[in-house]
Amino acid sequence: MKFESTVTQIQADNIDTDQIIPARFLKTISKDGLGDQLFFDWRYNADGSHKADFILNTDKAKASKVLFAGDNFGCGSSREHAPWALTQYGFQAVISTSFADIFKQNSLKNRLLPLVVSKEVHQQLREALEAIPDLQVSVDVETQTFTWPGGPAVTFTIDAFAKHCLLAGVDEIGYVLQHEAEIAAYEAKRFSTLNTLAS
């Protein structure tokens, strides 16, 4: 996983999943068509027309793979519709100083990279974008590096297993199902005493 891209900025802290995709769009039973609903209430007027000044409605954002936001991105609900909507729009990474736990897990399972940077790097990137709005950044999961021309060489952390899954395209559920013997052994050992629901 390696890509270059311009950066789409939504600079607010604590962007919650109700903003990323409002609950009324969660009545779907499929994963499709969520890209158009991304940031719906920030993106559309009451009559359904685009808000001209909202960044996601620009061609530049549509071509961008990187969303750059404030602290604690993705807080709120467990809805996986949030990373589904972000990836369907075209994002492959979100940059923030921190992510809510469930959002982070959900993102990694959908090949959306939650890229954590320090407050200092966050500030440097904001300044760089102010000077050059079309700045191209590079992300490389293999080497865990994040760079831009004239910027620092940033090494980001990513859980080793998540990295392996991203790079090798591991199907985590398939991986877990390979533990059949261990799961069966655990069940045999434990149900006699503790779990009273087991039939």
Binding site: D13, N14, K27, Q105, N106, L194, N195, T196, S199
Partner: protein
């Protein structure tokens, strides 16, 4: 050799490790998987594509709550998309052989209300659900947390979850709550203190005399909003209150098994000398009834306080967030919150829809009338609670006061079932989230306790229940 002292969080974790492999997260066994209509359809589709069954339908339970209307059950679900979603869960439950408390079932209710109510949630369990408020079940000393839809599929297929261990965070609440101050105020105060990202990466253990003094229902209110302070889970070590609550419930162990279980459950305490990664002390005596003024649950304050001024915030992004929040809320820096005019009062949600919450609201509303300018909705958390409240005559108190008494569901907590604010409306709500649009596009939410909500309904403005004549 004495083993190393452990927290209850570590004990529950250790008990559930199925496998640990180098370079991978732990594989954790899940004792109880609760499923609802919104975050499960894509997981069941995934199972079908794989040709895999649900491994433990006996440890899995389904109900409908989120997109389910709270209008009389004799009426059909008018929203065709919601109706399809509800029908899909019924179909999935049937096909995979999972118990299902459906729309017309007498046990239907909010997933985090019916689990404890039926004795499904028990101490020492791992409990998951595709819903971030799964932390509610932590009130029983269970390790309970929300998961995404891919993880729902993983648990359906394997009854296990790949999981990295969280850090532990002790939230110690010592002292005695003053009259008019509730469990909801404890958790809103915690959110205000550490912020909505304050507990990220952590599991809370709530300890201290003020937590011990809470009833099981009140502990559920506290644990419920752990996620609102960023923690994935929050729990309270079980005690006599826990056992007493569980005894005799439908799925609780019976006879000899009960005694055996209680003996095991009693071991679920944090050992003396065990250490936490983080800790905080909250003084219960100094707490006031709380209310939020902004657009996340961490933007809360005592109801007698004034709205903060962004000019006093040093961090530029934080200042901007607060400024934007006040614009959205239509509030001025420095203004009092008490006296703010409101349009809707909502008493309900998995935070505050249980008997003690309804009794608290009824206690305030009894013999009074809600303001004619306020729509007041009282929504029980389950059909069982609805029956019980009606047996006690609470429904009559609500109706006499001019409030609506509705069927069980998430209702106006989430605005995807027909119950919602219209743009610009203000609500005082006992739910758990005040995000922009959470209760309806453009709607503006003040989070508070059932007592504060009821007092505000009467006065038509945000009201400190202690000032009610």
């Amino acid at each position: 050799m004495p083993s190393k002292p452990r927290t209850i969080i570590e004990k529950v974790w250790d008990n559930h490790i199925v496998a640990e492999r180098e370079g991978a997260p732990s594989l954790l066994f899940i004792d109880l998987h609760l499923v609802h209509e919104v975050t499960s359809p894509q997981a069941f589709s995934g199972l079908r594509q794989r040709g895999v069954k649900v491994r433990r339908p006996d440890l899995t339970f389904c109900t409908v709550d989120h997109s389910t209307p709270t209008t009389p059950r004799s009426l059909p679900i008018v929203d065709p998309i919601a109706a399809t979603q509800v029908a899909q869960l019924e179909k999935n439950a049937q096909e995979f052989g999972i118990p299902y408390f459906g729309f017309q079932n007498r046990d239907q209710g909010i997933v985090h209300v019916i689990g404890p109510e039926n004795g499904l949630t028990q101490p020492g369990m791992t409990v998951v659900c595709g819903d971030s408020h799964t932390a509610t079940h932590g009130a029983f000393g269970a390790l309970a947390f929300g998961i995404g839809t891919s993880e729902v599929e993983m648990v359906l297929a394997s009854q296990t979850l790949l999981q990295k261990k969280s850090k532990s965070y002790e939230v110690r609440v010592e002292g005695t709550l003053k009259p008019g101050v509730t469990a909801k105020d404890i958790i809103l105060a915690l959110c205000a203190k550490i912020g909505i990202g304050g507990g990220t990466g952590c599991v809370f253990e709530y300890t201290g005399s003020a937590i011990r003094a809470l009833s099981m229902e009140e502990r559920m209110t506290v644990c419920n909003m752990s996620i609102e302070a960023g923690a994935r889970a929050g729990l309270v070590a079980p005690d006599e209150k826990t056992f007493e609550y569980l005894k005799g419930r439908r799925f609780a162990p019976k006879g000899e098994k009960w005694d055996e279980a209680v003996a095991k459950w009693k071991e679920l305490v944090t050992d003396e000398g065990a250490t936490y990664d983080h800790s905080i002390l909250i003084d219960a005596d100094s707490l006031e009834p709380m209310i939020t003024f902004g657009t996340n649950p961490g933007m809360g304050m005592a109801i007698s306080a004034n709205v903060p001024d962004p000019a006093n915030v040093t961090d530029s992004l934080e200042r901007e967030s607060l400024r934007k929040a006040l614009v959205y809320m239509g509030l001025q820096a420095g203004q009092p919150i008490a006296g703010q005019k409101i349009d809707v009062v909502f008493v309900g949600s998995c935070t505050n829809s249980r008997m003690s919450d309804l009794r608290a609201a009824a206690g305030v509303l009894k013999g009074r009338k809600v303001s004619p300018s306020v729509r007041t909705m009282i929504v029980p958390g389950s059909q069982e609670i609805k029956r019980q409240a009606e047996a006690e005559g609470l429904d009559q108190i609500f109706k006499d006061a001019g409030a609506e008494w509705r069927e069980a569901g998430c209702s106006m907590c989430i605005a995807m079932n027909g119950d919602q604010l219209t743009p610009g409306q203000y609500s005082v709500s006992t739910s758990n989230r005040n995000f922009e649009g959470r209760q309806g596009k453009g709607g503006r939410t003040f989070l508070a306790s059932p007592q504060t909500a009821a007092a505000s309904a009467i006065m038509g403005v945000v009201t400190d229940v202690r000032t009610l004549a």
